[in-house]
């Protein structure tokens, strides 16, 4: 075997191993019975286009979280002070508007609710959400937040497409309006992938599909677009919570890589000089 072949074998084996991991990683991340807007895919999460560098989005997300979520869901591994620094919210403003009760800036973000009582109320104590975005992924959170619908058979009157029979009330219903699970006519597809047409008139055929989400007109404080955008901000904030130092880490990482490129180049030149002795 010559040198080229040897290196090739080496690369192929490593690539094959990494490749098999890649296939595995693609599986999973299911979003329950969530139906995409065109009605073609079921159970796939919507993509959450979030940006950890977008401070304004993070600030809006924090505002929603502190006002609507913190009543039940703690962020008990994070501290108020760090959030205010990272999100560039002035301390005094943060203290006045985003801290409730007698908590101190250096405290961990806890809730006052007793977990035992919470279990009685909701069937399960509301989980801490510091690491939720790591556990479920931002796409899941975004889809979940926008997938509540009215379901009178449930004790709290709402259900969720992503997390069926979840014990959580739709806290943001005033903001969103009244979401319902509805049926719609969508274009019917033939087996060959084309749109089905009536053989006589040439008209496009449709079929009924159920499980779409629709908000009753004029019931919410926000339009659907506004609400989705707000939920993206909230998702962004939760993603930040899981990985608060992502931006700093990647900046440092870039410098470390630059250093290593130079180091490797120099060590290669050194190696080349020494190699000359050998022949």
């Amino acid at each position: 075997m010559n040198k080229k072949n040897r290196i090739l074998t080496f690369v192929v084996i490593i690539a094959a191993s990494l490749g098999s991991l890649k296939v595995l990683a693609a599986a999973g991340a299911a979003c329950g019975s969530f139906l995409s807007e065109d009605g073609l895919t079921k159970g796939e999460c919507k993509e959450a286009y979030i940006n950890p560098k977008d401070k304004a989005s993070l600030q809006r997300g924090a505002q929603v979280y502190m006002n609507y979520c913190l009543g039940c869901h703690s962020l008990k591994y994070a501290r108020y002070k760090k959030v205010s620094e990272d999100l560039e919210i002035p301390l005094s403003m943060f203290q006045e508007n985003l801290i409730f009760g007698d908590q101190k800036m250096g405290d961990l973000i806890q809730v006052g609710m007793d977990p035992k009582e919470a279990k009685e109320w909701f069937g399960n104590a509301p989980p801490d959400l510091t690491l939720e975005a790591g556990l479920r992924g931002p796409d899941w959170i975004y889809t979940y937040l926008t997938s509540f619908y009215i379901d009178e058979s449930r004790p709290l009157g709402v259900n969720n497409k992503v997390y069926e029979n979840v014990g959580m009330p739709h806290v943001l219903i005033d903001m969103q309006g009244t979401p319902r699970s509805v049926c719609k006519q969508i274009p019917a597809f033939a087996d060959n992938g084309g749109i089905k047409q009536d053989p006589l008139t040439g008209e496009q055929l449709t079929e009924e599909r159920c499980g779409f989400l629709q908000v009753d007109n004029g019931t919410g404080e926000m339009s659907t677009e506004q609400f989705d955008k707000t939920m993206l901000d909230l998702t962004n904030f939760l993603a930040y919570m899981t990985d608060p130092l992502k931006v700093e880490r990647e900046t440092i990482g870039t410098y470390v890589l630059l250093y290593l490129f130079i180091f490797t180049m120099l060590s290669y030149l050194l190696y080349r000089e020494f190699k000359k002795d050998l022949h």
Binding site: K3, S20, L24, G253, L270, F274
Partner: protein
């Protein structure tokens, strides 16, 4: 001045002799190739793990109540704590990736054959210790996957006939996996196992320098020496190999750092997503999956689905899994081939080695995905293939026709 200082030391310690023996006069074959890098990179990773481990220890709290929160404390409140932790988690995966390549190199070039049997056995012990270190370390963050992986692995001891249940309680130190279990795994992970690993690695390198490095041709470079008694087809380890390795370490660190800073989760393989949730003994995760480097053996464990000779399937699976790790140690005595390197071995050796690699990768895949009946059958077939490489070796390596081995190493 320097000479005087060296003399002072040499009178009290074999300093110059040691440097010469292990560095400046250690003869390294000139035809060593890219596969030989895994060894030196393993030493680099060992140092990374020891250093980052010590710093993690400064803020980690080994209690069931505090462990999970202390990891988050390291990740958030300790200055650059996340760098230290990601270094350690990435290092763990790198350790296994490299030791697999290192072992494969040995299998390919017959590095376990006489006179390197003991060297191979010592290396196998480091692999075993690494598996133990990986497992104990994995439990320490006390997330859901930590807890349930510990539950699954430890329950294997409970499947041993007659003594199983009592043994299990003794190992756990409790009737369930608990803080007591965490404490003892912690003690093993930070004291016993690393100490043993360092000691065995040290002896491994001593043994290597006693018998000398093998090479891709599997020929004995000590047969032909020049007038000074230096083997002809070798170069001194320092500076030639050291300079070469320095360059290789640079390339390796680029990949290492890229994962560490930009993909610290490694797509859920370096750090499992389920471990973002604190351990909860009332809530079982949907799929319990071990770390990627154990998945081939996990697939073997699950492949045994039938009881035999009055022994439970679980116990038999445990035996097969343990045998899968243990059987490497027998390689020097299974190989009856007159030649070392795969380059000169016959077609059967090549076929079975390829079959082994394929089996290992396929089992690794099967161990990471939920099992279905079809996947279980596949796992059974490839488990048999995996063992066939070892168990049939005395036959195929003895009766195949090998190519003639040259006297001296071949370049290019």
């Amino acid at each position: 001045m320097v000479t005087k200082l060296m003399n002072w030391f040499d009178d009290r310690l074999p300093l110059t002799a040691t440097i010469e023996r292990h560095l400046t006069k250690y003869p390294a074959p000139i035809n060593m190739n890219i596969w030989y890098l895994a060894g030196v990179l393993l030493v680099v990773v060992l140092v990374i793990q020891l250093a980052s481990g010590i710093w993690l220890l400064m803020n980690y709290e080994p209690t069931a109540e505090g462990a999970f929160a202390s990891i988050q404390y390291i990740m958030r409140d300790v200055k650059y704590g996340y760098i230290i932790r990601y270094m350690h988690t990435t290092g763990a995966s790198a350790f296994f990736a490299l030791i697999f390549l290192h072992m494969f190199r040995g299998m390919m070039y017959g590095s376990y054959q006489k006179p390197r049997e003991l060297l191979w056995v010592l290396g196998w012990i480091t692999y075993f210790l690494l598996c133990a270190l990986g497992f104990t370390g994995y439990v320490l963050p006390w997330g859901q996957m930590s807890f349930w992986a510990a539950q699954v692995i430890m329950s294997l001891f409970g499947s041993i006939p007659y003594i199983g249940e009592d043994l299990l309680t003794w190992i756990r130190g409790d009737y369930l996996i608990s803080g007591i279990t965490l404490n003892r795994l912690f003690a093993f992970h930070v004291v016993l196992l690393p100490l043993a690993l360092i000691a065995v690695v040290f002896v491994h390198i001593l043994a290597l320098h006693e018998v000398g490095s093998n090479n891709p041709d599997g020929v004995d470079v000590k047969k032909f020496k020049d007038a000074d008694g230096v083997p002809l087809d070798t170069k001194p380890f320092f500076p030639y190999d050291v300079m070469h390795d320095l360059y290789a370490i640079g390339v390796f660190l680029i990949f290492f750092v890229a994962i560490m800073f930009f993909y610290p989760d490694g797509g859920g393989y370096v750090i499992e997503y389920v471990n973002y949730e604190a351990a909860d003994n009332l809530k079982t995760p949907e799929h319990i999956v071990p770390s990627w480097y154990y998945t081939p053996y996990y697939a073997m464990l699950r492949a045994v689905t039938f009881p035999l000779f009055g022994l439970t399937a679980k116990f038999l699976g445990f035996v097969v899994m343990a045998a899968g790790i243990a059987i490497f140690v027998a390689l020097p005595w299974l190989d009856r081939s007159p030649v070392k390197s795969i380059k000169y071995k016959g077609i059967y050796s090549k076929f079975f080695l390829a079959l082994f690699v394929v089996s290992f990768l396929v089992l690794g895949y099967l161990g990471a995905v939920p099992s279905t009946p079809a996947r279980t059958i596949a796992a059974q077939i490839f488990t048999v293939c995996y063992f066939a490489y070892f168990l049939l070796m005395p036959i195929y390596s003895k009766y195949e026709t090998c190519k003639p081995v040259p006297d001296r190493v071949q370049l290019g």
